[in-house]
Subunit: 353 residues, 2 copies
């Protein structure tokens, strides 16, 4: 519980590409909203700038040791996108920094809200964030030149804690419905375990209805205008959560509009769900990167550390500014607003909504 804490350390991790540009704007907005508590020293920002692809490549690790130590001194982290090396890139084939951070800090709940009132969409996804197809990282096996194997790992505790988090939220928010998404008709051992865990836990929540669907048909149901509004809270193993939340975010305007909370027992990390867009930076357009998604993530961070009211103010301001941003583009400003102009407008809107 953060309300009783004297000091909250907020780590700011720029990441790669457009990351440092947009995180700086999100930090400005946080400083603006938390000005009083920054002055008293209750809120302390800590810039962690070592999580770059260059540093990671140099030490061959998804997270350099000194960066991991720094991360562990923070109570909460706001993180910009990081580049995941792919074949053909000049970097060694190291694991995604996102995936490694989620595991190293045991951030087991990836919570992603998607809300589009005019489409009757109000979804909250609880994605399991540390195991499943992501559990063993890059440690699959090339048995020989012909045969490659990867592993999916599901534990009882790992399933229980994310499923409980989803049911707790469904109960306290009054949404009272949880949909469990697996592919237990084929991936019987691990997804079967996850589904069984959900059925057992559901018994402890008599006011919450549970249903379950397979991930294939679930991607179709989100498209179906008649059926999609029946879904409220969804809980999914890691890979299905990854897939379904990108599709879902598209109905809200794309992955660039969605924030993502990665929550564990000890730490919590908030991020945009889009990529690091390195080309924007090499082409000199980094200052035009849209900070909307990471500012949404900053709003989730505020809520997490106990500033509910300010979090709501910010979400409302973003709803207004989202439209403004579109207007700037529509009225012919080639590149839209810069990230700084956008953040300024968010702060003006906060002062005078």
């Amino acid at each position: 519980d953060f309300t009783t804490k004297d000091k909250i350390i907020v780590g700011i991790v720029g990441g790669d590409g457009i990351g440092p540009f947009i995180t700086a704007e999100a930090q400005r907005v946080l400083e603006f909203l938390l000005a009083d508590d920054v002055k008293t020293g209750r809120i302390v920002f800590k810039i962690i700038d070592g999580l770059t692809i260059e540093n990671r490549a140099a030490c061959g690790k998804a997270i350099p040791d000194d960066v991991l130590d720094e991360l562990k001194t923070c109570d909460v982290i706001l993180k910009g996108p990081t580049t995941t090396p792919r074949e053909g890139d000049p970097w060694p084939n190291i694991e995604s920094a996102n995936v490694a951070m989620r595991r190293e800090l045991d951030l087991f709940a990836n919570v992603r809200p998607v809300c589009v009132p005019e489409k009757n969409i109000d979804w909250t996804f609880y994605r399991e964030n540390t195991e499943g197809a992501y559990a063993v990282g890059s440690k699959g096996i090339h048995i020989n030149d012909d045969l490659a194997i990867d592993f999916t790992v599901t534990t009882q505790d790992g399933s229980d804690r994310i499923i409980k988090a989803a049911f707790d939220y469904a109960e306290k928010s009054g949404k009272n419905k949880v949909t469990v998404v697996t592919k237990a008709n084929v991936i019987k051992t691990t997804d079967g375990k996850f589904l069984d865990a959900a059925k057992a836990i559901a018994k402890n929540y008599p006011t919450v209805e549970m249903d379950d669907w397979y991930i294939d048909i679930m991607t179709a149901k989100l498209v179906d205008e008649k059926r999609r509004s029946s879904f409220k809270v969804m809980v999914l193993p890691n890979l299905y959560g990854d897939i379904l939340t990108d599709e879902a975010a598209e109905f809200q305007g794309g992955v660039g509009t969605a924030g993502s909370a990665n929550i564990g027992k000890q730490y919590a990390m908030f991020e945009a769900i889009h990529g690091s867009a390195p080309r924007m930076v090499t082409e000199g357009r980094g200052q035009y990167a849209d900070p909307c998604s990471i500012i949404r993530a900053a709003g989730m961070l505020l809520e997490h550390i106990g500033y509910q009211e300010k979090a709501e103010m910010l979400q409302k301001a973003l709803d207004i500014c989202g439209l403004y941003e579109k207007k700037l583009v529509l009225t012919g400003r080639e590149t839209g607003a810069t990230g700084a102009e956008y953040a300024d407008y968010v702060m003006e809107t906060l002062s005078d909504p």
Copy 2:
């Protein structure tokens, strides 16, 4: 090559639930279209009715041995949906008959077209059909009560043959573009192998453009009206193919509207991609089951055995009748047409388009 064959044996597998109802209607349509060649004995239908959940449960096998022997006497198979047991069902936890048949008959290419001209959609999916997350069937391991493991298996040959099939089709159809969909940024070993295989094969097709995307963002791109028409031919590992084709079919009117071809070197099987809807049968509404999807599959079967012209006639008739079916529902006929009425209308339309 079927054109030089004196005799083609077409197996008809009813399956479970509404399966026998709709397959019978599809067979009537095939008999109507192939009447001449049925008379001469070139086309022989062979009813295989042992692939029921009761039989499978009794012998504890996804496909009873005698049924598998019968299937192997056929050149092509038209298959109704089969029930996959789930927990709580009165059946033992045997593997899906679909999945087993694809593997036992080595039907490595699952080809699923989705075409919606008015939405500018013309997609053909080449789903790898025998390996990936489906390779080891129900043989995942419960290490102990807390820990479950499943396996994903990708082979060089298994990747090469499906990727080549996709590129061959892209070349000969003049679509000239293949999109490879993986999650190689996380599932690095197996999906990495698949993606590498695609890059190597692409070099042999200088006229075909290749791009690649991750499955998460791909589900978003299909929703995006501006970007989705840029996709033509997609090739995917098994699980992503399963997921993305259900989403894609939704734009065409749902999984009930899509046919699916499962093609191997020796055998080929054609099926609807919807389920067996056992409740329709227990509630006495089996005759109202919509045979549209399985008749589409029958059209793919016709094309496969060398009756291109008849296949096209049938696809056109189905496009016309699809509208008629909707009209029946809209004008207030509670249950719509029966499957038999629908098949009759398809045949009338074939006689007088």
